[in-house]
């Protein structure tokens, strides 16, 4: 439901062409010491860590595949993809299943799922895609939630640059 509302809000403001504080919902996740936000509209599901079947001869950040209710879903380690240390699976580790129209569903491994926050457009500082140094290219904005800063993940960068 929340997801639905978030979408409606966006659509409405788009139609009217006004900028009356668009509001977006983000799921806040933790990777190491940093907090990241994932746009809730792209999230299909959040599941507990489970046994991942390794697929040979693929880049290291492709951890393998899992069975999600009869579907085989590839799992990506964003830590490895962003050049961070390899994942350490713990009790809080979760797999977030993203919906992607281009390449089908995809799971990403995160250290912890914290909360859902609602950010208005004014709280978000958009970043250009120019900065390609290190993992900053995986981020397309920074959101201010109270006193905390949340890096907003650019999901296209995670799901798409696969084919390059």
């Amino acid at each position: 439901m929340e997801q639905q509302t978030a979408m409606n809000e966006v659509v409405k403001t788009d139609q009217e062409g006004k900028r009356i504080a668009e509001r977006f919902q983000y799921i806040v996740i933790r990777l190491g010491d940093e907090q990241y936000g994932i746009d809730i509209r792209y999230i299909d599901n959040i599941v507990r860590m489970q046994n991942i079947t390794r697929v040979p001869k693929v880049p290291a950040y492709l951890k393998g595949v899992i069975n999600l209710r009869g579907e085989v879903i590839p799992i990506v380690s964003i830590r490895l993809k962003m050049g961070l240390a390899a994942d350490e699976y713990g009790r809080a580790t979760r797999i977030i299943i993203l919906k992607s129209e281009v390449s089908g569903s995809l799971g990403i491994v995160v250290d912890e799922v914290r909360e859902v926050v609602t950010l208005s457009e004014d709280d978000i500082e958009r970043l250009s895609h120019e900065s390609k140094d290190g993992h900053s290219s995986f981020i397309n904005g920074v959101g201010k939630n109270g006193g905390e800063l949340i890096s907003l993940l650019d999901l296209n960068a995670i799901t798409l640059d696969e084919n390059s």
């Binding site: 697929v55 040979p56 595949v65 899992i66 069975n67 009869g70 390449s103």
Partner: protein, 695 residues
């Protein structure tokens, strides 16, 4: 009126009817007297006409209407089936198919009126009648038997007083007309429409006879049409027009009444002067008017089926294949859930027996459910192969070779996705056999073969495979010619050519570079687009083989997995991972000692009963530690693709299992020897090794 929602059903059913017509007309060609066939054709044509009319495709309707007229005459025995007529009918079917294709791609039937065809049909109608009854008066011949669909008024038994009235009226300048009014299939208030027709006609003249009787018509005791005999001073056209103006009237035909042709007629008067041939153009004129009205009540078409009985068709429901996939996934989930229940119950030592019983029950239900869902995806290959007899017939005419197609096993079932794809390759092979395989009549005679060439299409199930064989008794493949051409073209060197076996040479035909060369195919007699056939079949996880004897014919064997969704697989362990290998590609499983391994060109091979087979260490290929020690014995799975073999060294065998193939998705595509994944009973994912890619 929006009929777009019915478009899909319309297309499906139209294709079915067209296929049916094709088959039946073929039958008719060989057995012109078969009443069942003729009836079947008539029904199919009639349904087509009704459907096209309902959807508002007028050109299609016009054409089918005229075809139906011809069939109707054939059915009534007024026209004999002749080869030219069959040709025209086939052309009509092609034209209808063209309409259908247009409709499918653009929702519009196109603008081709096919007037020449319609004219040919009408020629058959009139000309055919003449040929039959040369002594009959112009054009009225088809009605001679009295049972004519068009001239039902002749069936009416006139009593003396009525005949008297008619003859008297004629003297007063009133002509007698016979008129048949057909109400639309979809018409609900038939009696009311009929009443309006009566009223309209009575304004123009006097109705002296009605069949069924006026009372019956008012009580709706008639099927779709009723026939009137009208006395009028007005021209026939005016009366027909008046009747046509009533809505929901499908068709009005009329002609001057010829007393001699009516039932019970006792000769007393002069033959009616007006030639009945006039009736034909009158009728044609009326049609557009009637058709315009067909569109309006189209929505009701589904409520009422045509009065004629439909051909026997399987009782089926069309289901979107995606819905089946969803169902399939749900069943897989159910099985996984059931398996975890089973393992949970196994751990509980003290669990009561009632619980176990229920688990077992659940197990049998899920297994059955699984099987049924699998079966739903299977369809007979009939739908594909049915069009071939017609194709061979046409080829026979164009190539001017006599040939006959014998088919068996049309009921063999395959996965829906495979059936949809297999048509083109089969057509290719059949064309090949007809065009290049069968010799011309002269050569056949010299070889002592029967003048009519035979092509066989046999399908049957063989274990988990379906085999389709295309066989001909033609020339076979001239291996030497292929060899020479291959050397000439530089596909192989002369030395290679000398050492290659016959089979290897024949396999050259499947090479893309080879088969596209026209010149080669002229000499070899084979090969147009065989590479396409091969790649198509391989994309369906199948394989194609050819066996040939020069001068005796060739056999092309296509082997396809029963379904793409499920395969029988051998589960193996490499390191600590489980992999599935399709059972179809496994030749043998061998237990070998490390000392059996030889080195050839620094590659590991084994000599297995005289055959040297290269070894592939799966743990190295898959980048994983083997769980076996170097000095332990080796488990080698021998896989085979065509003539090539390889031994896959695995750590352990888990046994045979039926697995559901799942795609790894677009995201993972780097790995070419992994063809997919499957979900095991415990919910884990195992990858499927593609043995073909390893070879």
């Amino acid at each position: 009126m929006d009929v777009s929602q019915y478009l899909e059903i319309f297309l499906d059913e139209t294709k079915e009817h067209l296929q049916n017509l094709n088959t039946q007309i073929l039958n008719l060609e060989t057995d012109a007297e078969n009443m069942d066939t003729i009836n079947e054709i008539f029904r199919a044509a009639h349904s087509l006409k009704g459907m096209a009319g309902t959807m508002g495709y007028k050109r299609m309707q016009t054409l089918t209407h005229d075809m139906e007229n011809v069939f109707s005459e054939v059915r009534n025995g007024n026209i004999k089936v002749q080869p030219e007529m069959i040709d025209v009918l086939f052309q009509c079917l092609d034209a209808l198919e063209e309409y259908t294709n247009n409709i499918q791609s653009t929702a519009d039937e196109g603008t081709n009126d096919n007037e020449p065809l319609i004219k040919l049909l009408n020629d058959i109608l009139t000309g055919g009648g003449k040929a039959e009854e040369p002594e009959a008066k112009s054009g009225s011949a088809p009605a001679e038997s009295g049972a004519s669909g068009d001239k039902k008024w002749n069936e009416i038994a006139l009593d003396d007083s009525q005949i008297h009235v008619i003859t008297e009226a004629a003297k007063m300048g009133k002509a007698a007309y016979g008129i048949t009014v057909t109400v639309q299939d979809s018409c609900i208030l038939k009696a009311a429409r009929a009443f309006l027709v009566f009223k309209a006609v009575e304004e123009k003249g006097d109705i002296i006879v009605s069949n069924p009787s006026t009372q019956d018509v008012e009580d709706e005791k008639f099927d779709r049409d009723f026939t009137l005999i009208v006395l009028s001073e007005a021209p026939l056209e005016d009366i027909i027009k008046a009747a046509c103006n009533v809505s929901e009237i499908a068709d009005v035909t009329g002609a001057p009444l010829v007393l001699e042709e009516t039932k019970n007629y006792r000769p007393m008067e002069e033959p009616a002067a007006a030639p009945a041939a006039e009736a034909e153009p009158v009728k044609a004129e009326k049609k557009p008017a009637a058709e315009e009205k067909t569109q309006a009540p189209a929505a009701k078409a589904n409520e009422k089926k045509p009065a004629v009985s439909k051909p026997v068709v399987n009782r089926t429901v069309r289901v979107d294949i995606e819905k089946l996939d969803v169902l399939m996934n749900l069943v897989s989930e159910l099985i996984i859930a059931k398996n975890s229940l089973v393992s949970a119950s196994g751990q509980e030592q003290n669990s009561n027996s009632g619980f176990n019983e229920q688990i077992e029950y659940l197990e049998s239900v899920t297994t059955n459910l699984h099987e049924s869902v699998m079966k739903v995806r299977m369809v007979p290959i009939e739908s594909v192969v049915n069009k071939f007899p017609r194709m061979i017939r046409d080829l026979s005419k164009t190539l001017n070779k006599k040939m006959e197609l014998y088919m068996s096993g049309e009921e063999t079932e395959l996965d829906r996705t495979v059936v949809d794809e297999i048509g083109d390759p089969l057509m290719h092979l059949l064309r090949n056999s007809a065009d290049h395989g069968l010799e011309d009549a002269e050569l056949r005679a010299r070889r002592g073969k029967p003048p009519v060439g035979s092509i066989f299409l046999d399908a049957y199930q063989d274990g988990n495979n379906v085999v389709i064989e295309v066989r001909d008794d033609g020339n076979g493949i001239d291996v030497e010619a292929v060899r020479n051409k291959a050397i000439e073209r530089g596909t192989i060197t002369a030395e290679q050519g000398a050492t290659m076996s016959e089979k290897e040479i024949i396999d050259l035909l499947f090479l893309p570079s080879f088969s596209t060369a026209k010149k080669v195919t002229d000499v070899s007699g084979r090969g147009v687009g065989l590479d396409v056939v091969k790649s198509k079949i391989e994309s369906l996880s199948g394989e194609v083989e050819v066996k040939s004897r020069l001068g005796e014919g060739s056999t092309w064997t296509i082997r396809l997995p029963l379904t793409l969704a499920i395969i029988q697989a051998l589960m193996v362990v490499v390191g600590n991972e489980k992999y599935a290998i399709s059972l179809g590609s496994i030749q043998a499983i061998e237990d070998l000692l490390p000392s059996d391994i030889k080195l050839v060109e620094n590659k590991e091979v084994i000599n297995l009963r005289g055959v040297v087979i290269p070894l592939i260490r799966m743990n190295e290929l898959l980048d994983i530690e083997s769980s076996r020690q170097a000095d332990e014995s080796l488990i080698v799975v021998i896989v085979k693709k065509g003539d090539r073999m390889a031994g896959l060294v695995v750590d352990d065998l888990l046994g045979q299992q039926e697995i559901v193939i799942k795609s790894l998705g677009a995201y993972i595509k780097q790995c070419k020897f992994i063809s997919g994944a499957t979900i095991l009973g415990d919910g884990e994912v195992a990858l499927i090794l593609d043995a073909n890619a390893l070879l």
